[in-house]
Structures are given as C-alpha cells and as structure tokens.
Amino acid sequence: MADKIPVTVLTGYLGAGKTTLLNRILTEPHGQRFAVIVNEFGEVGIDNDLVVGADEEVFEMNNGCICCTVRGDLIRILDGLMKRKGKFDAIIVETTGLADPAPVAQTFFMDQDVSDKTKLDAVVTVADAKWLTDRLKDAPEAKNQIAFADVIILNKIDLVSPEELAEVEGRIRAINPYAMIHKTERASVDISQVLGRNAFDLERVLELEPAFLEDDGHHHHHHDHDHDHACGPDCDHDHHHHHGGLKHYHDEDMQSVALTIDGEVDPDKFLPWVNDLVQREGPNILRSKGILAFRDEPRRFVFQGVHMILDGDLQREWKPGEERRSKIVFIGRNLDKEAIREGFLACTA
C-alpha cells in the first residue's frame, strides 16, 4: 500500500476554478512532482511537464450497471504512466465540468492493475460560490460532484455577500454534510488540505472526521439529517430552518440520511441488511459511511462505500469511557429514509 501512487480527483462545474486550483497545486513549493490527467487538454495552460490528455471514455463493465462503470481512458493512461514510475510522486485527475465522478472513483476499485498500483486519495470538488445555488437547480452533474466530494473548495467567495455565502454553504450541507469545506478566493487553499487526505482509507476515516460520531447538537435518539421533517403534498422542499447559524435546506432529490443508534448493533443483522440495501439502492446511493459498535466486539467497525461497492473492517478499540454508538450516513438520490431508518433500527443489538 505504501508504494501506491496517490491519485486526487479534481471535479467541479464549468468555470468554478478547477484549473486555477490545479495550477496553484503545481506551482507551490511543496517539492512534490505530479502527473496530471486533464480533459480540456490545450485549452488552458497547465504549468507542468507531465500532462496527459484524457477523453472521458466511460465504459460499462457490465451493460447498464452503474456500479460496474469505469473510465476506460483512465485505465489506459494510468497503465502508460506506471511505465514512467519514478518521474512523479502523485497523480491528479482533472475531470470536465460535466463529468460524473462515480466512474472515475470506481475505476480505482474495479480494475485490478489500477488498484494494485494506485490509490484514490480523495475527490476534491471546486464550487463557484456565486453560481452553485443555480447550478444545483439545473445541473445534475454539479449536484453529483458536491454529493461525491470528500473536500469542497467553495471558491470565489469575494463575489458574494456573507448572506449569500451562508446560503450556498447551507445548500452544500443539505447534500453533503461531511465533506470538508474550504472557502477561498482564487482557489487559495493550503495544499495540505487538498492532497494526502487518504479519504478512502478506513484507518483514516476517524482522523479526518473526529466529530463523525458526535451528535450534531441535537438530542434525538435516532435522528436523520432532516430531523424527521414531514413533507406534505404541498411542500415545495425549498424551505429551510436554522441550526447553529447555518440555514438548513432540503434538496429536493439529493439528500443525506444520517442515523444514530446510541448503543450496539447486531452484526448478524446489520451486515445482511446493508448488503441488501446497497444491492437494491446502489444506483441511488452515491456515498456511504459508517462507524458501528458491534455487540461483544471491542473494536469499532468502520465502513464506507461508493454506489454498490462497500469496504469495511474492524479498526481501533473503543477507548475506556468512550460511548459505544453506531452511526451510518448515506448520500444519494430519492432515498427512502423511513425504510432505511426502520431497517437500521431493526439491527439494534
């Protein structure tokens, strides 16, 4: 694992500032050498010696199965880059503004050679503070990119008022409550917050998200992200309320469902349940994550997933005095929150 080349996937809607961030990464004096895979090859200057053009060839390993969809061009390019191993320390994949991040991410899990030689470090999404709210309404790609992100660079904050910034942040949080958000002008961000995140490494999940198991300031025993908000037939889903100074929005088709059990779950119930859930709802579930206290198990069980692909393992032991809680989060489209809630609660030990 140690000698695998880390790969950062850089997404973001058209004009959000991906290339600005990319050039910032490439020109700062961090001593790292990058191979860069870009799509809009030649259109905008990339300040780097090793730039490879990609053609976004999306390929279904199995016909029609979104979970088996990979990027053929990436397999080919990464294969070629590995013959030049030693000339770079990390790889950055810049996608087009309209790209779906899922096939990019899945390429790193589905293809044996790619996963043997590289590791997906994080999906970083650059968002335009001024226009993201509009794009979330009319561009499903923009929504996917926010939902999929481990790190969000909320860029061009100098072009919006504090109120507008709070609104766009609230809308991001309605879709993806756990990505790290960095608010920037001209994509000026500490590069260490973008690279080397190990966001797909289970051992790092808790380091990156120490607050994951904390109650979000609420005291429901079992709550989901929209706090059991009951939408009637007249509800337009565009309302909000406030939590901690941040407006709390409800996106009409992309939501996060976060559920907590203040105690242990039964692995013999949970594992078949989550297996069945992602099998049925995998196409709708973009990302998933969970930390669980299994009955009679001294270690934490940590899992995360992309569509139907799940990875899970027992990690460090629960510390003395640490509250044994179980929390899962799903980010996806049109999720049946009640069914997920019922299913999860039925796994209580």
Partner: protein
C-alpha cells in the same frame, strides 16, 4: 458489487487470482494479435446487481485509434481458454 469488504484497500488480494488475471492478459495479447501500444485490462467482475450476470471475466482491449472493446466471458479468469477469448472477440459489441 455489494459488500466486497476489503475492496477499497485491496492491499494484498489473492495472489492466485492476480496471477490468473496477469496470465490471461498476456494470452489475450497473443490470441488477439495486439501490438505493444494496446492496453489490456482484465478483471473478474462479481456483481450482485440483478441486471448483471454474476461472475464474469471482462477483458477490455484499448488500441490507439479504435473504440475500446470489451470481451465478456461468463467464467472465472483462471478457467478462460484461448477459444473463449477468440469467441468473445468475434461476438458483437454491446
């Protein structure tokens, strides 16, 4: 592809399965008369999606200037024969 725990890390994997994939990759180059410029990716796909056929070996053939071809064989990689490769290569692409 549900609950293949360990997949993200895939730190060690099954050496036997990896060897079968590598061997099949080399045989595919010979059987399909591919040049060094071609990239071949061989994977065993075990997908739990009802729309997917279960276990399948997928050989992606990427040649410069040509559309990527996917040869799909409903067997484990270790069981794929040269005849299977030849037949899959002549099957219509989806």
């Amino acid at each position: 592809m549900a609950l293949r725990f360990g997949l993200f890390g895939r730190k060690d994997g099954d050496d036997g399965a990896k060897a079968a994939l590598a061997a099949l990759k080399e045989r595919a180059r010979i059987v399909l008369c591919l040049s060094d410029e071609a990239t071949v990716a061989v994977n065993e796909i075990v997908c739990a999606d009802p729309a997917c056929p279960g276990l399948e070996t997928v050989v992606l053939v990427m040649e410069p200037g040509r559309r990527t071809r996917a040869l799909k064989i409903a067997k484990a990689a270790a069981e794929v024969t040269d005849e299977d490769l030849g037949a899959a290569a002549t099957a219509p692409q989806a």
